[in-house]
């Protein structure tokens, strides 16, 4: 018994030749889409959902896990070589890593990012292994009110931490909630907001939402102001191996970044942005060479990259143990579970231990594969960056149409896809983040169910939400998350 015997049986699932192959395909695809601009892991998993119908669930999830981790590795490669971060969590890597590349230490920057991601990913996966079982036991005591409180907390963290302002984050969140309202109300069977269109009775698929907001929205946005001065890929010079001094300057940032990233990712405190920034300023303060920061300090790549990866792994803790996604990719992974009739949380650990532990074991394997694959293949990834942008985005549109149409074989879905794509374009134009909307589409209906069932159990007595200590404390934390930034701003203006 105990997590390690569970993990061992997980390895026996993940180490079959077939599943190793799926893991390899996953990390390969993941790295490719991570390197390529315009496509991220959320979109890739969403588009692969119809393709994986016939697959064993455990194989599909091993591949998805590879895509998830691979996307992170690939993203840092692009940031270092191209200086155009694809996501805000990579801004730091782009800053320092690109400077290193320009000074001829691009190979070392790639190496410290890759090894740091490996160290962080492995420690964080160990963290998942140890934390998940006790979390699942705690979750056994959770009722409707507690789950509602957790969802509200996830809403507040993802909303306050993304986008230009709280108001803009809230716009995204409530747009997602509004999209989630469409369809039959599960508790009463009443149609809501279907406007007489029968295809809307089953609601708007989260996959359509993600593909519309990410793929079509991003394509329209990029097309509207395509970079004409194509960014130069910095050629990789110098030894692929880090020098002794670079190792000495890297290993502590890796560990500190992991320690920052994993807890913040798993809390759920919304994304990888905060830990990477924290890690960067921490390394700058601790460094003996603070003057190098901004000019290509290796600590400034090592720490934030480790933090980024560790927090991405941390996101899997609330997803697997509570069924609570706190990022867009996690939301799509939750959809994937539901497609297979699986509900992450206590039941998943009890009823499908092979799947859960096979998935966790595959995270260790995928991480190792990525370390081995990434550095030698960097030439291939660089070549991917040379794909002409018009062809890349035209291809993204083809896959977006294909993936959406095959959901229900209905052109109504394609129309919805276009509407959401236009919405995604407008949101980008006005700095409204899209991730809160994707998370809200899937968690909104869940929140409503918990809310109404809790009130049915308490016979309409709203005090059920404040008399349960766990629920109350989670609600209070959510309140603090919203109020703290507002209060801080108020204090600043009063001064």
């Amino acid at each position: 018994m105990g997590p390690f015997s569970d993990l061992l049986s997980g390895f026996s699932v993940a180490l079959t030749p077939e599943n190793l192959l799926w893991a390899l395909i996953g990390v390969f695809l993941g790295t490719a889409v991570g390197v390529l601009p315009g496509i991220g892991p959320a979109l890739t998993v969403a588009l692969l959902l119809p393709v994986t119908y016939d697959l064993e669930p455990v194989s599909a999830f091993i591949m998805f896990a590879g895509i998830y981790y691979g996307g992170m590795y690939g993203g840092s490669t692009t940031s270092i070589l191209l200086n155009t971060p694809g996501e805000s969590a990579s801004i730091i890597t782009a800053l320092e890593g690109n400077q290193m590349a320009k000074r001829g230490r691009g190979a070392a920057a790639l190496a410290t990012a890759a090894i740091g991601s490996f160290v962080a990913g492995t420690i964080a996966t160990l963290g998942i292994t140890l934390i998940a079982p006790p979390m699942v036991r705690v979750a056994l005591n959770f009722g409707e009110a507690e789950y509602l409180a957790l969802i509200v907390l996830a809403f507040t963290t993802i909303t306050t931490l993304l986008g230009g302002s709280l108001a803009r984050g809230m716009v995204s969140l409530f747009l997602g909630l509004a999209i989630g309202l469409v369809g039959i109300d599960e508790l009463t069977g009443q149609a809501r907001f279907t406007f007489g269109i029968p295809q809307l009775r089953n609601g708007i698929d989260v996959v359509t939402v993600a593909v519309g907001l990410f793929a079509v929205g991003e394509t329209l946005w990029v097309a509207s102001r395509l970079r004409h001065d194509a960014e130069q890929v910095v050629p990789i010079k110098g030894s692929i191996w880090m020098t002794r001094a670079e190792w000495a300057r890297s290993w502590k940032p890796w560990l500190r970044g992991t320690l920052l990233g994993f807890p913040i990712g798993s809390l759920p405190a919304g994304g990888a942005e905060i830990p990477t920034f924290l890690s960067y300023s921490l390394e700058k303060r601790l460094s003996k060479h603070p003057e190098e920061f901004g000019e290509g300090a290796i600590e400034g790549v090592a720490g934030p990259e480790a933090a980024n990866n560790a927090s991405a792994a941390g996101v899997l803790v609330p997803l697997l143990t509570l069924g609570l996604p706190t990022s867009a990719t996690a939301a799509i992974l939750l959809v994937a579970f539901q497609r297979y009739g699986l509900q992450p949380g206590t039941q998943l650990f009890n009823n499908n231990p092979d799947l859960v532990w096979g998935l966790i074991a595959s995270l260790y394997i995928g991480n190792t594969m990525l370390l081995v694959l990434n550095l030698p293949l960097v030439g291939l990834w660089v070549r991917l960056l040379a794909i002409p942008r018009p062809l890349l985005y035209a291809g993204i549109l083809v896959f977006a149409g294909l993936g959406t149409y095959t959901l229900n074989y209905s052109t109504v879905d394609v129309v919805i896809l276009y509407i959401l794509g236009t919405l995604g374009f407008v949101m980008r134009r006005f700095d409204i983040p899209v991730a809160p909307a994707v998370v809200a589409v899937i968690l909104g209906p869940a929140a409503e169910q918990h809310f109404r069932r809790a009130l049915q159990l308490s016979q309409g007595d709203y005090s059920t939400f404040v008399t349960r200590p766990i629920a109350l404390s989670i609600f209070l934390v959510a309140l603090v998350v919203v109020i703290a930034p507002l209060a801080a701003r108020l204090v600043r203006t009063l001064r």
């Binding site: 809230m170 909630l177 990029v222 018009p390 006005f430």
Partner: protein, 184 residues
């Protein structure tokens, strides 16, 4: 918002490239977004009254969340308007690698891609997947400024046929064959 200033879209900002879109027209565009959020909230509140409620569920029925969402959108719309007027104007998202936010909006590219998307929708179940996808690819690439027509056409046809084969032969999903039904 005065009538004369209305149809203001970001492309009408006649600033030279590389200058942040700013000024009154940007403010109006932003206020339009706030107004749209507000209007959506009101629409949801009105539509909520169409949802039938049975007595037993009156306390926690199917109208509760729509009411919360509708009211929320109304409040957020007003909030966004206040924030805009007080000078918290939006900077376009900087998250995309390939987008240069200092450029003005290229409406021609948007129009061409829209044509490509509409052609896809119209043709998908008539002309079939391969033709619709190839056209979508080709027009979209052209819209984004590619002028190597032969290479683009070859890529368009290649990708469409490749995905057709993978999905129909490899994964046995059924895609519309359309006009090429006898050949494919």
């Amino acid at each position: 918002m005065s009538e004369r200033e209305s149809p203001v879209a970001p492309d009408e900002i006649s600033v030279p490239p590389r200058v942040e879109a700013s000024g009154r027209s940007a403010l109006v565009a932003e206020l339009l977004v706030a107004a749209a959020v507000l209007a959506l909230g009101i629409l949801i509140l009105i539509e909520t009254r169409e949802i039938r409620v049975m007595r037993t569920y009156a306390n926690v029925g199917p109208r509760v969340l729509p009411t919360i969402v509708g009211s929320g959108l109304v409040i957020i719309g007003l909030w966004l308007a206040v924030e805009t007027v007080r000078g918290g104007g939006a900077r376009p998202s900087t998250e995309a690698e390939d987008a240069d936010v200092t450029l003005p909006t290229d409406w021609r590219a948007i129009a061409l891609i829209s044509v490509a998307l509409i052609a896809y929708l119209v043709l998908l179940e008539r002309a079939g997947y391969v033709i619709a996808s190839a056209l979508l690819f080709f027009i979209a690439a052209f819209g984004m400024g590619s002028r190597r027509l032969i290479r683009d056409l070859a890529s368009a046809i290649g990708l469409s046929i490749f995905t057709w084969l993978v999905f129909t032969e490899g994964l046995s999903l059924r895609l519309p064959a359309g006009w090429l039904g006898g050949i494919l």
